[in-house]
């Protein structure tokens, strides 16, 4: 990147090359303007000279600027905790989702992909979990417009709502973590705010960039399962233990094993199917992007196009995305600016069943290795003798496609009324149009109805208008004041149409049009809106003392008329100690800033009509009915979070070492809770404001420039964070959902399980600790083989208590190298499928290889009980299936080589870089399941049921090679 040289008052310009050389045609009276980020602008009249050498002077007054809500601020003067991620951190990482590229880059931000499905949801948790039943997701704002972030999947497995954004269009991402920065977004600030700024052109020479990459992927991990011989051994033993050796129903001629083998001879090892290998396949990634950007002093533009083709590692799962963006900014006059950013994208996804469906590939690991995957001929899947429905049939005789069209439009007008007073009006529009079509043919699970098809269409759109004034003035040079005030209105509406039919004349006719019977259909409309007023005042005195205050007043249709509005104030102070005389001249300390903030944010992530009692339409015998679907609660009000943040920013040795240390404490009151109520009332839950919880933690960020020489640079960035989540008040008592519990004094969603005590060496019975409370208050740690005698206890948490990210970036001559390690400690995963997969042959499902360690003879010491077919022995929900999921992962790595300019110039190429990128290349963990990041996607939208895995696929490990070409 060179110095920009523009002839003043024209659009003529150029840039210097890598050696600092430039050429420009100018008349002697022309004024040349030299500019470079971080350096002072220099103007020079061309005159008669043919060579003008300029030495740029660094600009001490230059300050890094960060995007904040409704404006920008000098990073130096920010009194908030904001994590910034720049385009260089996220571009060229071959991950289809924006959030995935951020993993490990910001302190206190946990980003978890649900599992290895390409479209799968990604969960971002900023400073812990602040709500039990309301939304736990941050607010995403792109170029000033809050985005639609609703999962529109027709199944329980979520689709990432941001999957249609192209990460390569992003210039920077700011994550507003504390209340003082997020409170300007009031009612939706509690879970943090993610501000996304897209790229814009720069005046000067038009820049054309191309990026193309291609790569391969596979599962991060595979597990060991019994082969045919081991399967026969274990299940024969299990049957003998249950029914005696004389009952040979499995092994006899025409017995169950013969049935499974479907004519193949299992006795001679003729069949040994590896179902896991059929489900987890080799994937691939292709990504091609181009962008053209540039402009003059009046008009800036950025145009980009992108294509991403990801073939997932789970058979039949893939994604294609085409995206287009055009950003335009024009200065009509010195006072008047307009701009418009538009993006269009089309995403096509081939889906597979949820983790809890027999048709999902990974459930094939339950099939017996004795069952051939295909019938003779090897084309038609064998569904005749498989224990469960053979998923291969779904690919052979069905399909499930999603098409998402997304349009984003942001436009603005800005008017500088006075030099110190500006006005900006923004209009944003977001349209998410999703069509999901499913077909299952006459050989699939829908055989009995001769095929089944459905189609689901969603039209979600949202418009937002905001108007605000900005006033900035400096008094007596020492007193800076900035005021922002305005309003915004947002309306979101959603329409849905759905139809399903059965009975198809041919498997080639796959739309509902050919159904002989329409079995189901629906359509619905819903809407919600927000009306908000906001203001912010920032003072800076002597460039050392910083004070900020903000206020937001939000109203939403989601709340009952009596509690419709909420007020969300915030205040923060900062002291730049390094500006004080006693330290100002220190050569060691270049920056020392102490800051503190307090603020209130809200959470309105509940149903559109959660406060109302509702009856909905039903039918019996094709006559209409009315069903009570929701109990009303007119007292429903905003959930509010009070957050305190204290932080220290420091820079040492001319900022060669810099960092931030923060402590925060977030307390959420009046939790919007879907409180379970006795079923005897006719309902199972109601939304109420009860209880409170806290999140507390330290965050530590350290950036160092280890080496800064001409040929070698090396930078390191480390972030560490702790999290302590506690439910502090829950007047309604425990909430138990599946294996998780919300209990006062404990981390939200703690595991609540009977404690497994291993195996009785005498008889092979599974044992459990009783854990009943004794009269002295302690727990009875004696064991029992009667599961119903054992009490559940808190046995772990699905959330990490410590997270770390470490990024290193190096360049040596023409080589560049960077990598990010990321780690999480303190969380556990419960395998809900454990009872089937590792259940000492209780069910006929294939077992993990470790089940061969089963108890066989008196005196055997093992954790695997005696195998007893169809008889329960240790398969009940217990800590037997709970495991720590700490991990360290080489999240991404890239290695590039930029060809010498002398060579590429011959082909008119400014820059040519060849690179290699890897994602999830290494994972260090003691977790024995698939992967610490493979969780049950049916729970994807559940707030309480967390840390559960159930036939969930591991994420992909991806290797790509690519080229960057700049013209």
């Amino acid at each position: 990147m060179g110095v920009n040289i523009v002839i003043d008052n024209t659009s003529k310009g150029t840039q210097t090359d890598f050696d600092g050389k430039y050429e420009i045609m100018a008349s002697p009276q022309d004024v040349l303007v030299y500019s470079f980020v971080g350096y002072k602008v220099i103007k020079r009249t061309a005159g008669q000279e043919t060579i003008i050498n300029i030495e740029m002077v660094s600009d001490n007054t230059f300050e890094e600027v960060v995007v904040v809500g409704f404006g920008k601020q000098s990073k130096r003067k920010v009194t908030d905790n904001i994590a910034s991620v720049s385009s260089s951190d996220i571009n060229n990482i071959p991950i289809a989702s924006v959030q995935g590229a951020l993993t490990g880059k910001a302190a206190g931000v946990q980003i978890t992909q649900i599992n290895g499905k390409v479209e799968g949801g990604v969960k971002m948790r900023i400073r812990g979990v602040s709500s039990i039943s309301s939304s736990q997701e941050p607010l995403y704002v792109i170029d000033g417009m809050p985005l639609i972030n609703d999962d529109e999947s027709v199944s329980e497995a979520p689709i990432n709502p941001l999957i249609s954004l192209n990460p390569n269009d992003i210039e920077s991402i700011q994550i507003l973590k504390d209340a003082s920065s997020a409170a300007i977004y009031g009612a939706r600030g509690t879970n943090g705010v993610v501000l996304i700024t897209t790229k814009q052109g720069k005046s000067g020479k038009t820049k054309v960039s191309l990026n193309t990459s291609t790569g391969w992927s596979e599962a991060t991990n595979k597990m060991k399962w019994l082969n045919a011989e081991q399967y026969v051994e274990l299940f024969t033993e299990a049957s003998t233990n249950s029914y005696g050796a004389e009952d040979t129903w499995l092994t006899e001629e025409g017995g169950y094993f013969d049935f499974m083998s479907n004519g193949k001879d299992w006795r001679t090892g003729e069949v040994d199917t590896d179902w896991q290998d059929l489900a987890l396949v080799k994937g691939s990634v292709q990504e091609h992007n181009f962008s053209i950007s540039g402009g003059t002093d009046k008009t800036l533009f950025f145009i980009s196009g992108g294509y991403n083709d990801t073939q997932g590692i789970v058979r039949g799962n893939s994604l294609d995305r085409y995206s287009f963006r055009s950003n335009l900014d024009h200065k009509i006059s010195d006072k008047f600016r307009v701009g418009m950013n538009t993006s269009l994208s089309k995403t096509k996804i081939s889906r597979i069943g949820t983790d809890n469906s027999f048709s999902t590939p990974l459930q094939a690991i339950a099939q017996s290795p004795l069952t051939p995957a295909y019938l003779d001929g090897g084309i038609v899947p064998n569904n005749e003798t498989s224990i469960y429905y053979n998923f291969l049939m779904q690919e052979y005789n069905g399909n499930w496609n999603v098409n998402i069209f997304r349009v984003l439009l942001n436009s603005y007008l800005e008017y500088q009324i006075l030099p110190e007073l500006g006005f900006k009006t923004e209009f944003g529009y977001d349209n998410n149009n999703q069509t999901e079509e499913y077909f299952a043919g006459s050989l699939t699970e829908s055989a009995s109805t001769n095929g089944y098809a459905d189609a689901n269409a969603i039209q979600s759109d949202k418009y937002s208008i905001s108007n605000y004034f900005t006033y900035a003035q400096t008094f007596n040079e020492d007193y800076d004041i900035e005021l922002v005030g305005g309003m915004s209105f947002e309306e979101s509406s959603r329409k849905r149409q759905y139809v399903a039919g059965t009975g198809f004349p041919s498997d080639d006719l796959q739309t509902v049009a050919s159904a002989s019977e329409i079995t189901s259909g629906t359509s619905s409309r819903t809407k919600y809106n927000f009306l908000s007023y906001f203001g912010r005042a920032t003072f800076s005195i002597l460039d050392k003392y910083l004070i900020k205050g903000s206020l937001r007043y939000d109203g939403s249709s989601r709340f009952g008329a009596s509690n419709r509005y909420g007020i969300f104030p915030a205040a923060s102070v900062g002291w730049i100690i390094s500006e004080e005389d006693f330290i100002k001249d220190s050569e060691t300390i270049s920056l020392l800033k102490l800051r503190g903030s307090y603020g209130v944010t809200g959470n309105a992530g509940i149903g559109n009509f959660a406060s109302l009692g509702l009856f909905g339409g039903t039918a019996y015998n094709q006559k209409s009915g009315l069903s009570p679907v929701q109990l009303g609660n007119p007292d429903l009000k905003w959930e509010k979070t009070n957050q305190v943040d204290v932080g220290l920013d420091f820079g040492i040795l001319n900022n060669r070492i810099s960092g931030e240390i923060d402590y925060y404490s977030k307390k959420t009151n009046d939790l919007l809770l879907n409180e379970p109520i006795p079923g005897t009332s006719g309902y199972t839950s109601i939304t109420r404001n009860v209880g409170s919880l806290t999140n507390k933690g330290f965050e530590f960020v350290l950036n160092t420039n280890n080496v800064m020489s001409k040929n070698l640079t090396w930078k390191t960035s480390l972030n560490l964070s702790t999290l302590d989540n506690e439910v502090t008040d829950l007047p309604s008592g425990d909430i138990v959902a599946g294996r998780n519990i919300v209990r006062e004094g404990e981390t939200i969603s703690s595991f609540y399980l009977v404690e497994y005590a291993g195996v009785d060496p005498a008889n092979g019975d599974a044992l459990f600790y009783k854990n009943t409370v004794k009269t002295d208050g302690s727990l009875d740690k004696t064991t029992t083989n009667n599961y119903n005698e054992a009490e559940r206890i808190i046995s772990g948490s699905p959330y990490p208590t410590f997270m770390a990210g470490l990024t290193n970036t190096m360049s040596f001559r023409n080589f560049d190298f960077s990598f990010t390690f990321q780690g999480e400690w303190g969380s556990s995963l419960y395998n809900e499928g454990g009872k089937f997969q590792s259940g000492n042959a209780r069910y006929e499902d294939n077992q993990t290889a470790d089940q061969l360690d089963r108890w066989q003879n008196p005196g055997d010491i093992t954790m695997v009980p005696q195998a007893r077919m169809y008889s329960t022995n240790g398969q009940q929900a217990s800590t037997r299936y709970l495991e720590k999921s700490d991990f360290i992962r080489l999240r991404n790595l890239s290695f590039g080589y930029t060809f010498p300019r002398e060579v590429t110039q011959k082909f008119s190429v400014d820059r040519l870089r060849l690179y290699f990128t890897g994602i999830n290349l290494l994972t260090f963990t003691d977790y024995s399941g698939y992967d610490p990041e493979s969780s049950y996607d049916n729970n994807g939208n559940s707030n309480i049921e967390k840390g559960i895995t159930f036939y969930s696929s591991p994420p992909a490990k991806t290797l790509t090679i690519g080229l960057n070409i700049d013209l």
Partner: protein, 452 residues
């Protein structure tokens, strides 16, 4: 440069945008009605009533779930469980866990029925037509009585005729819950209290309902259910009276063939009450799901519940159509009673009334309506089985098995008659469902059943 004058435009834009948009914050749901509107007219209240049938027909309850529990817990070896679901496997093993979600569905649906019936009953004042009001009240009470009867049979120790029956049954909830302020945390009532409520409801239903009422509950649906309740209670006089009333006055008659009583899209001539299933209701019929072969909409066990050779010991005539009412799949023998995914589900058939009248008459040594032997032979004749000259209690009860197998009677009959299930005593704790864990978690006033 031209001097633009945008200030007025901007000021007017501003004025527009700052005008309070408060009205915009009032958004009414487009798919839902408020409780006030839902209960304000007879037409709406009748739609709530109609929905109670939908809830009852849920696959977790009368659409298969209750019968599945009864047949699998009552399975003494006549059935083989081949399915992959854990919840029925627990039934079959008689090792039910309190978090069994099938058990939870039975409970939650039953109280949904109860609450909606309470809502209907508390809204009767909107009716102006006395006849319409009576029918509505009768149906609501029929459904509520039915729900409590099955709750009591599943979650409580068996009723012992002539004793106090103070064993804990289930909470009786008669309050219409329409807003959050009326949520109660009830304790369990005794079995005596629950049965008193059931009889009161069903007797009212019998008095209020008309003799014919489309596919909905009629006077004789209520009478037939009362006969079933009295039989369960060992009150043979009343069981006899009710079954006799049904046989003589209901207008129903046995279908010409045994086959004719099942898999019908429309109610058969012997249905005193049947759950309506159509392809449009998007409801799963769990009878065909679990009992049917794959080609009839069954699950992969094909069928999940197959019939073992032991079952065939109950037949005494190879011509008996009931002994031939099976089909073979690649995995085993399936009953032919549940072959139509979209067929109605018979809830009370006239055949059961003949069995109840015969048993009650025999036990009371009476011949009200007809002799026991004639009643039994009526069923045998219809199925092409040879007639008996005489019957005793054992032959009557065996006839009951031949006629009613796979319809959800196994557990209830075994417990009522004191018959062990395999080696498990008929009064064992394992044969009683646990109070669902979600209920004991939420409501500390609920005492869990022994053994859980």
């Amino acid at each position: 440069m031209k001097k633009y004058n945008y200030l007025p435009i901007i000021l007017s834009l501003l004025t527009l945008s700052f005008i309070a948009c408060d009205d915009n914050l009032n958004i009414e749901p487009e798919q839902n009605l408020s409780p006030e509107v839902a209960t304000e007219s007879p037409a709406n209240v009748k739609k709530i009533l109609n929905n109670i049938y939908t809830v009852a027909r849920d696959n977790g309850s009368y659409g298969g779930g209750i019968a599945l529990a009864s047949e699998l817990i009552g399975n003494n070896g006549s059935l083989s469980w081949n399915g992959t679901y854990v919840q029925p496997a627990e039934y079959n093993e008689k090792a039910i866990l309190s978090d069994n979600s099938f058990v939870e569905s039975i409970w939650v649906n039953a109280y949904d029925i109860s609450n909606e019936a309470n809502i209907v009953l508390s809204s009767l004042s909107v009716f102006t037509d006395d006849n319409e009001k009576a029918v509505t009240e009768g149906e609501a009470k029929f459904l509520r009585g039915m729900a409590y009867f099955d709750l009591a049979r599943l979650f409580s120790k068996t009723y012992v005729p002539g004793s106090q029956n103070s064993q804990l049954a289930v909470p009786i909830s008669l309050t219409a819950v329409l807003d959050a302020s009326i949520i109660e945390y009830p304790s369990r009532n005794t079995l005596e209290e629950v049965y008193a409520q059931v009889i009161a409801d069903l007797t009212d239903a019998y008095d209020l309902l008309p003799e014919s009422n489309d596919i909905y509950a009629t006077k004789y649906s209520a009478a037939a259910l009362l006969a079933r309740v009295y039989l369960e209670m060992g009150d043979y006089d009343n069981a006899r009276a009710m079954s006799n009333d049904v046989i003589n006055n209901s207008g129903t008659e046995l279908t010409a063939t045994f086959d004719g009583a099942f898999n019908n899209g429309e109610n058969s001539t012997e249905d005193l009450f049947a759950w309506q299933v159509t392809s449009q209701d998007a409801s799963l019929n769990d009878f065909s799901t679990f009992w049917g072969g794959v080609e009839f909409g069954g699950r992969n066990g094909n069928p999940d519940l197959s019939i073992t050779s032991q079952h065939f010991n109950i037949y005494d005539d190879s011509n008996d159509e009931r002994s031939l009412f099976f089909y073979e799949t690649s995995r085993g023998t399936a009953t032919a009673k549940w072959k139509n995914q979209y067929g109605n589900i018979p809830f009370i058939r006239l055949a059961e009334m003949y069995l109840i009248r015969a048993e009650s008459n025999f036990r009371k040594s009476t011949n009200v309506g007809d002799t026991p032997v004639n009643d039994i032979n009526a069923l045998r004749d219809r199925s092409n089985a040879s007639s008996y000259n005489t019957v005793n209690l054992a032959t009557i009860l065996m006839e009951r098995k031949r006629e009613l197998s796979f319809e959800g009677f196994s557990l209830f009959d075994a417990k009522r008659l004191g018959e062990n299930i395999g080696s498990i005593a008929s009064n064992a704790n394992r044969l009683i469902l646990p109070i669902p864990l979600r209920e004991t978690d939420v409501n500390p006033n609920l005492i869990q059943n022994e053994g859980y």
